[in-house]
Each structure stands twice: as structure tokens, then as C-alpha cells.
């Protein structure tokens, strides 16, 4: 029962979602909206588990005084403080200028944007290291990337030729690759989903 009933629920909900796609009935539409809403609600409840997991791991680091435990303290403090300034003032905390939003704007956003911008450095070093004509495949990858990048470098009359080549790459091989790729992914997803709905694939649920 501990396994069979949950699997029956997977099948039931799954088949409903599948069927509603084909049925233009209002009742189905409503039930569909419900299910979408409910998954969000379940996700909200699950958040507590996440916060608990984060706290537990960091507290145990502090307790065991593992190297760098001070940083774990920072993580916990950051989280707790954010929860306090978020929940105590109620919905008002989402307004511009509240402590909650200030922390979001001046701590979270800059760090997030900077992490993102590290990619400029990483993409350069990855290109330097990986784009070497070792094998045919590596050479193809390298040439295609260089042609696309050269679009941004003024080359005088050569620009026109390069632009033509870049357009060709984007519209022919790139397009073909994308199409075949998506067809494969589509089939893979559908087959995996079907296996899950039929209960053939059940490793994701754990054991008794």
C-alpha cells in the first residue's frame, strides 16, 4: 500500500492532465487550473523542508566546528534575518524601500549579477582551452564558433563574406541540428513520461 497507492495517484493525475489537453470542456479547464494551483501550494509546503535542510547542515557544521564554520553562521544569519524582515511587516515588506527589498536589491541582485558576469571570463578561458584543432569534431566546433564571433569584428570587405557564412551556419546546419535535437528530446520525454505513468519506471519513489 505504501507504494501502490502513490503510484496509482501518479497514473490518475497524469492521465487526467494528458486527457484534458484534448478535451475542450470547461469543467476540465477548471480542474486543470486547480491542479496547477495545487502543485504550487505543495511546493510552498515543501519549502519548509528546504529551509530545514539548509539550517540542519549549517548548524551541524557550526556544532562540529568544521573548518569555515563561521561562514555557515553567516548563511544562517542571512536566512533568518531575511525571513524576519520578510514576515514581520506582512505584505508591506514587498513594497519598494522596505528593509526586505533593500536587502534584495543591494545584496542579492549585485551578487547574482556579478556571478552571471563571471561567465564573460569563463567563456574566454573555455574558448582558449577547448578550441584546439585536435580532432575533426573539435575543429568543426572551433571554426563554427569563430565565424560567428567574427561578425562583431570589423573586417572591411571581408565582413560581407563572413556575414554570409555566419548566416549560412545559423540557418542551415544550426537549424538542422536544433530540429533533430528537439525531435529526439520530445520522443525521450514522451517515452519517459509514459513509463512513469504506467508505473514501469518507479525508481524515483524510493523503497519501503
Amino acid at each position: 500500500m505504501r507504494r501502490t497507492l502513490p503510484f496509482a495517484l501518479v497514473t490518475g493525475v497524469g492521465f487526467f492532465m494528458l486527457v484534458q489537453y484534448f478535451v475542450p470542456k470547461e469543467e476540465f479547464e477548471i480542474a486543470y487550473e486547480w491542479i496547477l494551483d495545487w502543485t504550487i501550494v505543495i511546493g510552498c509546503f515543501a519549502m519548509l523542508l528546504g529551509l530545514w535542510s539548509l539550517t540542519r547542515v549549517n548548524i551541524s557544521k557550526v556544532q562540529r566546528k568544521t573548518p569555515g564554520w563561521g561562514y555557515s553562521l553567516i548563511a544562517i544569519a542571512g536566512m533568518v534575518f531575511m525571513l524576519l524582515v520578510g514576515f514581520i511587516p506582512g505584505q508591506k515588506s514587498l513594497e519598494r524601500g522596505s528593509t526586505f527589498m533593500l536587502l534584495f536589491e543591494y545584496i542579492y541582485i549585485p551578487i547574482q549579477a556579478t556571478m552571471f558576469s563571471l561567465l564573460a571570463f569563463y567563456i574566454a578561458s573555455a574558448a582558449y582551452r577547448a578550441f584546439r584543432a585536435r580532432t575533426v569534431l573539435a575543429t568543426i566546433l572551433l571554426l563554427s564558433a569563430i565565424i560567428i564571433m567574427l561578425r562583431l569584428v570589423p573586417l572591411g570587405p571581408l565582413s560581407e563574406i563572413n556575414q554570409w557564412l555566419a548566416n549560412f551556419i545559423l540557418t542551415v546546419p544550426n537549424m538542422a541540428a536544433k530540429r533533430a535535437f528537439w525531435i529526439g528530446v520530445g520522443l525521450g520525454v514522451t517515452a519517459t513520461s509514459l513509463k512513469i505513468l504506467l508505473g514501469i519506471e518507479r525508481t524515483y519513489m524510493g523503497r519501503d
Binding site: M17, L51, I107, S117, G184
Partner: protein, 218 residues
């Protein structure tokens, strides 16, 4: 910028620099910023989820008397049984609901948007009379050979292997193009950060100038 803004932006600029020290090595400054952002963002996410998910999707409907919303509340509570060893199997129901809806939803969606759409838009007229028609021939060859690469039940040898090779070449050209296209976006991000730091320094200079000249806390 007023005093408050100068300070807040100073915090932001400091954190930006903390992250950039990571390019040199794993410094204490990076560790500080990293742990801070993990904590702050987890808290932020939880609060936002509460106000934008929990309140409108559960509390409001229940207040309006839509009792059917008791179901997700129960399913959600079942997640919490994971804190107990004995009852943790109950959380499987919530998992089942979540995964079931996701998979059922995915089947027609992927069939439509990924399989059907991609393959119907590959059905293009071909010929040798114009460049566009000739390109179509190349596209179709590319699609077919890349599909051959994704065959699992046949070893890649002989003609089959040769076609699969053309397929993987096509995929690689696509990946190279993807790489090349992305460089631009990433450089913009870096440029944007540089501009942020530069503008802050200018503001700070101006602020300090005023402060020393007139001694005014603005």
C-alpha cells in the same frame, strides 16, 4: 545620491568585488559573499513563495469558501511527515501528485511543440533552381543524419555509422554557433558591471568632495 544610497551602493560594490576575487582564487571574501547570498536568497525565496504562492493559491481560495483547496493543504502537510521516520512514506502522495501532473502535462506538450512542430517545419520543398531550395536539401540531410545519431538500437558502423558521423558534425556546428552567439551576451553582462562600479566611484568622489568642501551630510 544621498547618504543612504551611497552606503547601500557601497555595500553592493563591495560585494561585487568580493565575488570577483574568486577569479584569482577561493578567498575569504568570496566565501563570505557566497554564504551570505545563499542564506539571503533562500530566505528571499521562501518569503516570496509565501506571498505570491501560498497566500493567493491557498489562503485566499479557502477564505472564499473553495473547500476543495483543502486537498493541496493536506497533500502539502504530508510533505512534513518526512520529519518522522515512521510516517515519512505519506510524503509520497504529495510527490506522486506533483510528478504525475508534471509528466501528464509534458506528454502532449512535448509531442506538439518538440516532435510535431519541428518535424513538420522541416518538410520543405527542395530543388536546385535557387539557393534557398538548395539550402533546404542541406537542412533535410542534416536533420536526417542527426536523427540517425540518436538511434540507440544499432551500432554506429558502416553506412549507418557514416551518416551518424555527419549527424554529430551537424550537431557540433550548431553547438559552435551557440557558443559564438553567447559570447556577446556574457560580455555585455561584464560591461554592465564595469559601468556600475565606475558610476559608483564617480558618485562617491562627488559625494566626498561635497562632504569635505561643505561638510554637509546630504
Amino acid at each position: 545620491m544621498g547618504t543612504e544610497e551611497i552606503i547601500w551602493n557601497g555595500v553592493a560594490a563591495f560585494l561585487v568585488l568580493c565575488i570577483y576575487t574568486f577569479l584569482y582564487k577561493d578567498t575569504p571574501l568570496y566565501k563570505f559573499a557566497e554564504h551570505l547570498v545563499v542564506g539571503v536568497s533562500a530566505g528571499y525565496f521562501a518569503v516570496i513563495l509565501y506571498y505570491n504562492g501560498f497566500v493567493p493559491k491557498l489562503i485566499t481560495p479557502l477564505k472564499q469558501g473553495q473547500w476543495v483547496y483543502i486537498i493541496p493543504a493536506i497533500l502539502g502537510m504530508m510533505m512534513w511527515t518526512r520529519f518522522s521516520k515512521k510516517w515519512s512514506w505519506l510524503s509520497r502522495f504529495s510527490l506522486a501528485f506533483y510528478i504525475g501532473s508534471g509528466t501528464g502535462f509534458a506528454i502532449p506538450l512535448y509531442m506538439q511543440n518538440y516532435v510535431l512542430r519541428q518535424f513538420s517545419s522541416s518538410m520543405l520543398p527542395m530543388g536546385f533552381s535557387s539557393w534557398a531550395l538548395f539550402c533546404n536539401i542541406l537542412i533535410i540531410i542534416g536533420v536526417l543524419s542527426a536523427l540517425v545519431y540518436f538511434f540507440f538500437s544499432k551500432e554506429h558502423t558502416g553506412i549507418f555509422g557514416g551518416t551518424a558521423k555527419i549527424g554529430i558534425w551537424t550537431l557540433m556546428i550548431g553547438f559552435g554557433a551557440g557558443f559564438g552567439l553567447t559570447v556577446m551576451g556574457r560580455i555585455s553582462l561584464l560591461a554592465e558591471r564595469v559601468v556600475f562600479l565606475r558610476e559608483y566611484l564617480l558618485e562617491l568622489k562627488y559625494y566626498l568632495y561635497l562632504l569635505f568642501k561643505y561638510g554637509l551630510p546630504l
